[in-house]
Symmetry: C2
Subunit: 194 residues, 2 copies
C-alpha cells in the first residue's frame, strides 16, 4: 500500500502546524485513477466481510467512497453536515466537534439508507483526532448497523484518532500513516502493518 | 438518454412545491452503476471537445464529476462552498445566491486547478434557476478557461436556468428535463432533443 505514500512524497505540501495539503490529487482536484487504486485496495482488504454499503461524510470522502463502492458492487451513502438541530424523525443525527474550526456541527443520514441489516465500510480521506469518524460510528450504532471496517487514505498517527479507534476494536486500514511532519516539509511515515 | 427519466419515474418522489427527491440514487445514497452510465453519456457527447478537466461544486456533484472524469481520463475539480469573503490571492471566488435557502454564499476554486489552458466540462446533479452554475461559469471566466459544455442530470425546465444558459450560448446537456411536476406526484418530462 505504498502508492499513496509515494504520491504524498511527490505532490503533498507541508505547512507549519502539521498541515498537509493534498489538494492536487485527493480533496480539491481529484485524480480519479488514484481513487480507483484506493477503492480496489479497500476492496481487497474487506471483500470477505459482506459489505452492503460504503459510507462516508461530505465532501471530500465522496470520491473515495464512490470508487470503493464500485468494486464492492454496493451503493454508497454520505452523511451530511449541517448546523441545524432536530432535523426530523427520518434522520439519524450526531454531533461532531471540529478541532480545526473550534465548532460543533451535526452529521445526519436518512434512516432509509442505514439499517440494522447493513454491514458498513466507512471510508474517509483523513483520520486525525477521529472526531468525524466517531460521529459516523454513532450513526451506525443508532441504526444498529455492523461496522466491518474503516478505510482511511491518510492517518495522522500523532493525533491519536487511529489508536483510539483500534483500541475500541475497529478494523482501521490506513493507506499512509504519518508519524510526524516537520515545518520544513519532511514527512516521516510509520513502517509496518497498516 | 431515457435511463435517468426511467429511474426518476421508478424511485423519485415529488413533494409539494415542485420538490423532487432523488436521494435514494443521486444525492444522498448514490448508485455508482448509474453514475457510470451518466459519466459515459457526458463523455459520448463531449469526447471531441478536448476536455482537460471536469468541474463541479460540492457536494452532490462530486460523484457525477468523478464518474465523468474517469471516461475522459482527466482530473476532476470541485468548487468549494464557504461563507468567508476575501479568502486569499490563491483562489478565484464568486458569489452565489441560493433561492431555496434565501442566502448568499461564496464558491471558490484554487487558481492552480483552473487555468486559461483549460477546456472545461461542468457537471452537476440539478439545474433549476442556474445560480450555482453561474457561479462556476464566473470562476471559469476569471481563469480564462474555455467552457466546452455543461452536463446536467436533472433540469427543472420550468425554473428557467437551462433556457438562460442556452441563450448565452452554452452547450447544455440534460439527461432528464422536467417540464412540470404536480403535487400528487406526476412528473411531465420534456420530449425531444436534450
Amino acid at each position: 500500500m505504498k502508492f499513496l505514500e509515494e504520491r504524498i512524497k511527490a505532490d503533498g505540501r507541508v505547512y507549519p502546524g502539521s498541515i498537509l495539503k493534498v489538494d492536487s490529487f485527493l480533496n480539491h482536484q481529484i485524480d480519479v485513477g488514484l481513487m480507483d487504486q484506493i477503492g480496489e485496495t479497500f476492496y481487497q482488504k474487506y471483500k470477505d466481510r459482506g459489505i452492503t454499503r460504503v459510507m462516508t461524510i461530505e465532501a471530500s470522502g465522496i470520491a473515495i467512497a464512490c470508487a470503493a463502492a464500485r468494486f464492492f458492487g454496493v451503493p454508497m451513502v454520505f452523511a451530511k453536515k449541517t448546523k441545524s438541530l432536530n432535523l426530523g424523525p427520518d434522520l439519524y443525527e450526531s454531533t461532531v466537534h471540529s478541532y480545526t474550526k473550534k465548532t460543533d456541527y451535526q452529521v445526519t443520514i436518512s434512516k432509509k439508507y442505514l439499517t440494522s441489516e447493513d454491514h458498513i465500510l466507512i471510508v474517509d480521506d483523513f483520520l486525525a483526532t477521529g472526531c468525524a469518524l466517531e460521529g459516523l460510528l454513532d450513526l451506525c450504532h443508532q441504526a444498529g448497523a455492523t461496522v466491518e471496517g474503516i478505510g482511511i487514505c491518510i492517518e495522522k498517527v500523532f493525533q491519536g484518532g487511529g489508536k483510539m479507534l483500534r483500541e475500541k476494536g475497529y478494523s482501521v486500514t490506513s493507506l499512509a500513516m504519518i508519524e510526524s511532519m516537520s515545518d520544513d516539509g519532511d514527512i516521516v511515515f510509520q513502517e509496518g502493518e497498516n
